[in-house]
Every structure is written in structure tokens, then in C-alpha cells.
Amino acid sequence: MDPIRVITQNCVGCKLCVKACPYDAITMTGPLVEGKTDRATAVIDLGKCTLCGACVEACKRYNAIVITRRTFKGQDVTTYAGVAVLAEHRRGKIASVVPEIIGAARALATARSTTVSAILVGSGVRTYADELLSYGIDEVWMIDDPSIGDFDEDVQAELVSEILLEKKPEIFLGGGTVVGRSLLPRVAARILTGLTADCTELSIDAESQLLRQTRPAFGGNIMATILTQNHRPQMATVRHKVMTPAEKVSEPKGRVVELKHIPVPKSKLEFLEFVEEKSATVNLVEADVIVSGGRGIKDPKNFALIEQLALATGGAVGASRAAVDAGWIPYSHQVGQTGKTVKPTVYIACGISGAIQHLAGMKGSDMIIAINSDPNAPIFDVAHYGIVGDLFQVVPELIRRLEAAG
């Protein structure tokens, strides 16, 4: 039997499913709707269908499309409890995404009346354990071993997997960081459970008590809510700068549990060196203000103007793909679907038309200011404030005012 079927008797030929299908997999080419000579029923092209379920949702009223699944056997879900987070760290610091994941985890734990634990593996990590407790973590599950390097991701993945198998949390969250999005997929494939990437919203479904994992796809044009029904833990990576960070508690009550009985394997990776990006204005992901330049900059030397504005605002320099592809500025500055996803307090787009791929990387910013000479540029559709004008006049004026105010 096909995993997805149209129940022809129920189909009224309304085409709602055709509109809902993100993959163009449905056509109205089936037998005619009973009693109507002008309406055909839906047919699903299984070659194109990814069984995403959008059509089933769209057809709720008529129940004419059904998906049947026989999922491979998962874990015994009743033996899993609690929420856990990955305490990512490197080079002497807990990752800035960690308080945010703890904040998200706490909200979920409250909804499930359960606890929040943190998984901490590494060398000399005891001090981080105290920091984690100060964010209200109930238990830190720690493996502190001098042989675990910051960049030994293979070893870390194995240890995290072992801890999850032993402690059995029902939910496990990591940061949507480079490391989180590399380590968690490895863990999920190892312990055979589901993982949802880069979630922007997490909640507990009131009815099923499952974790609702909402994430953007298609460069942010579509949002999907995903469930992991029969497997545990329900795993997700969480987009940086989206969740509200946990507040520090005045009297930490949690405890540290050392898991010394778990053997630490030897890494197959060898760390050679870390090279910090020289430009102080490049850490876009952390920046509160970002000033970005696009095609309208016209010439690489004009990026100096963007840098000046970045300096005046204390912000970082970003760029659209057009500017990067033209070779005006390195790729590490690129914001957008194939570059970085950013969420600063203020995003100032200068000479950026606002192609959908660029919007995908910055439209989550708290405030967007656009400066563009074309009043019809799509960037103005997402901007909270827009200035229509020549950026070579507007930006210097803005810099002058900001500096004068100082």
C-alpha cells in the first residue's frame, strides 16, 4: 500500500491540497468528483511527494488524504523523563547560546513538571558546572577528563550518547551552533532518535505532551512544526539569539553528578590550532548592531563607509551575497541563506535590495532599518524603518549625526 493515498470518495476537488503542497506533487487529474462534471479529484505524484503532511492538514475538513506509517520500533518512551541541554564550551568559555537553551529547557520542564539537567564533557570543566548551576540547572551530568580536547567532537559525541542512554531525558537540546549542528546529528544517528535542526520555537503540545519543534525551512519561507513520537530523547538544536536566556538564580540549588564510570575513548581527530578572525567586527552572530552593504555599494572601497557606520554604532559589518560574490568583502561577512543567520537588535541594510535569500538570514532581527534608492526594493517590505535615498548621501549624514550626538 502506498504510504499516502487520496480517498477519492471524500475528495471534493477543492484544490486546497494543491495550494498547500510545497513540492508541487499534487494535480487535479483523478476521476471526476461524484455528481460534478467540471471537477476532478486529486492525484499525488509519489516521485515528488516527501510525505510532509501539508496536504493532510489542508484537507482536514474532508479527510480525503491519509498517510499511513509503520515506524521502526523506538525506545520505551515511558522510561524517559526530564529535559537536558548540551553545555557547549570551548577555549575557556561556555557558549553564549547555552543560557538561551537553558531558558527554553526550563519553560519546557515547567510545562512537564520536571527538571533541567546539563551535559558537560571536557577537560577542566568543573568551573563551568558552577556557572551552569547558577542558571538554575538541577543536575550537571559531568565527565571531566584531561584527555578530552575542546575539538574532539567524535569523543564528545560518544560520551554525550552514553550519558543520554544512561540518564534517559525525554528531551535533549543543543545550540544551533556549528558544533551543536555537527555533534547532535552524530548523537541522534548513534542512539537512533529524531533530531530537528535550528528550531525557533519549542513548546509542549497540550494534548499529546510531545515536544513541538518549530523551524524555518526553504530559507524561512515556510515554517514546519515537527514531532518525535516514538523515539527518545526528542532532540532539537535551537537557533542562537531566539530564545530568552535563563536568568541567574541567587541561590543555586542544583548539584553536580560526575559520571566517572563512563570510559573516555581516544579521539581520531587532532587539534592543531585555532585562528581567531582578525577583524573585530566580524562576529556577526553575536553582534547587537549589524550594518550590511549590498550591490548598491558599487565598489569595494566604498565598504569603508559601511565600516565607518559600523564603528559609529559599535556594530559588526555584514554583506549581501551580491557583495561577497563580487569579491568586495570576504564570505565570513555574508548574511543570508548561504551565509550566516543573524538576529541583532538593529540591522541596518545599505544598498541591499532584499532578495529572499538575504531576508532569510536577517528578518528575525528585532529592528530592521533599510537605506535604498529604489522605493520598491523588497527590503522595505521587512524594514521597520526605511530611508529612500542615495546611500552615499544618507550614510555619511547618519554617521555625522551619530558622532555629533556623542
Binding site: 503532511g53 556549528v178 519561507n221 578572525e277 542615495d390
Partner: protein, 267 residues
């Protein structure tokens, strides 16, 4: 050196627009392309082969029409291609996809280096690479911006991280996912185009790759999409037109009113 590049056929999203009335993707005339990140992976594979000898094999899991992406890959310098395609693969999430691809890689007797893009531009997950590596029991490194050196058993790479990059050495075989910075892909050559036209692309079905049917497609996918919706459009903002001194002044007073300062604080 044996190199396998895993690619995905995706809609060419540079053509994707949103219909403002229905708030859905406009799909008419949208072409299918090789996932842009995978093109960089393929180019890197072809460069490795040119420098060190060997073969570049491209595989994709997808519907029958994904063979077009494989032919495009041959035009770009791959030696041969396999289409991993079966109804049993439909509805696969990243776990089931990684499992199926790893079965296919095993069927092709493995590789020294397995390359893919850091993520596909439709799903944006980046989870398949690490998953393939785990299934094969080999190392992986994501977000590679440079392969510095490679020998029969060892590779040195630069991995892009948020605040810089790390230089790492690893043993082969390995799975690497690449970022755009790694190279500038070539255009298809005439010779490549001819090869693409003539190439036979074998299809690997579920039974051909010795896969456990329970672990494939919808059945092998722990995650399921419950709902798909379009994000709410942000409300239209204020737009100022006129002389820069006026528009900038208007902007700054609006910001002050909103309680937002964009002036650098004295930190």
C-alpha cells in the same frame, strides 16, 4: 584516492517568490538544481582527484528525476554517478536519509573521502553528513573552508567556526561538509557535457544496498511533520523620502521615541 560526493536535487530558490495573496511559494517555472553547497563539495572532490588521482563518484537519494542532478555533476567533472531511488525511501527524515546513503556508500565499497555541502538549501538541516559518518563508523568534520593537505591516511583541514577557524588533522576515511569559501566551482566543460549525456546512471534500489526496510523512508523516520505554515509577514514599516538631512533626522527621532539608540555606547 576514492572520493564520493553526496548531492541533493533542490528547487532553485533564487526563483522562489511568495504570492502575496495566498502567502504561498510561487512554484511555476521553478527549476531543479544541484544544491549550491554540494556544487562546492563536488568541485573540491574533482580538485582532489586532479591533484592526487583517483575517481569521483556522485550519489544522490531522490526521485527518478534526480538523475538530472547527477548528469549535471558528471558535466562538472564527476566520473560516474548512482541514483539511490526507491519508493521505500519516500518520506525520509535526516536519520533515514543518512542511513540509506551510508548503505549506498557501503555498497560502493566505501571511499577515502566523502564530501557534501554543509546543508541543503531547501531543508537547511545539515544533519545528513554527520549521520552518514556515524552510520559508517568514521570521523566527520563539518563546515570545511580548506583542505590543506591530504595523504593516503591523513588529512589536514580548516573548519569555520563562529569566531574564527580551527585547523584539525584527521584520519581517513572521513566525511567532510564544506562551506562556499572552499573554492570557486568551474563551469561545465564541453567534454563533461558530452560525458553527461552518454553516462549510464545505475539505480540503486532498497534491496540493492542491503538496507533494513524498517529503517528507510517514512518508516525509518522518528520525526514527523505535524504542520507546515507560512510565517506571518511583518507589518509594513515607516518609509522616509526626501533630503538626507530630513530623512536621517526623522529616522533618529523615531528611534529615540522607540527608546532605541544605535549610537556606540562608551564600552
Amino acid at each position: 584516492m576514492k572520493i564520493i560526493v553526496c548531492i541533493k536535487q533542490v528547487p532553485d530558490t533564487t526563483n522562489v517568490r511568495i504570492n502575496p495573496e495566498t502567502n504561498t511559494l510561487v512554484r511555476e517555472g521553478v527549476q531543479s538544481i544541484i544544491n549550491p553547497f554540494d556544487v562546492y563539495a563536488l568541485e573540491e572532490g574533482v580538485r582532489l582527484k586532479e591533484k592526487h588521482g583517483g575517481t569521483v563518484t556522485v550519489i544522490t537519494m531522490g526521485p527518478p528525476q534526480a538523475v538530472e542532478a547527477l548528469r549535471d555533476a558528471i558535466a562538472l567533472g564527476a566520473d560516474n554517478a548512482y541514483l539511490v531511488s526507491d519508493r521505500a525511501f519516500a518520506g525520509a527524515d535526516t536519520l533515514a536519509t543518512a542511513y540509506a546513503l551510508s548503505c549506498a556508500v557501503r555498497k560502493l565499497s566505501g571511499a577515502d573521502v566523502i564530501l557534501m555541502g554543509r546543508q541543503a538549501i531547501d531543508g537547511d538541516t545539515g544533519q545528513v553528513g554527520p549521520g552518514v559518518a556515524e552510520n559508517l563508523g568514521i570521523s566527520h568534520v563539518t563546515d570545511i573552508r580548506k583542505i590543506e593537505e591530504i595523504t593516503d591516511s591523513r588529512i589536514v583541514v580548516e573548519r569555520l567556526l563562529e569566531e574564527g577557524y580551527a585547523r584539525l588533522a584527521a584520519r581517513l576515511p572521513i566525511v567532510l561538509t564544506v562551506v562556499k569559501e572552499i573554492n570557486t566551482p568551474r563551469l561545465p566543460s564541453l567534454k563533461g557535457k558530452l560525458a553527461a549525456k552518454k553516462a549510464e546512471v545505475p539505480v540503486l534500489k532498497a534491496e540493492d544496498i542491503d538496507a533494513d526496510l524498517e529503517r528507510l523512508g517514512l518508516n525509518g523516520s522518528p520525526t514527523q511533520v505535524m504542520k507546515i505554515f507560512t510565517p506571518t509577514k511583518p507589518p509594513g514599516g515607516k518609509k522616509f523620502t526626501g533630503e538626507p538631512s530630513v530623512t536621517v533626522g526623522a529616522l533618529l527621532s523615531e528611534l529615540t521615541e522607540a527608546g532605541i539608540s544605535i549610537r556606540k555606547t562608551g564600552k
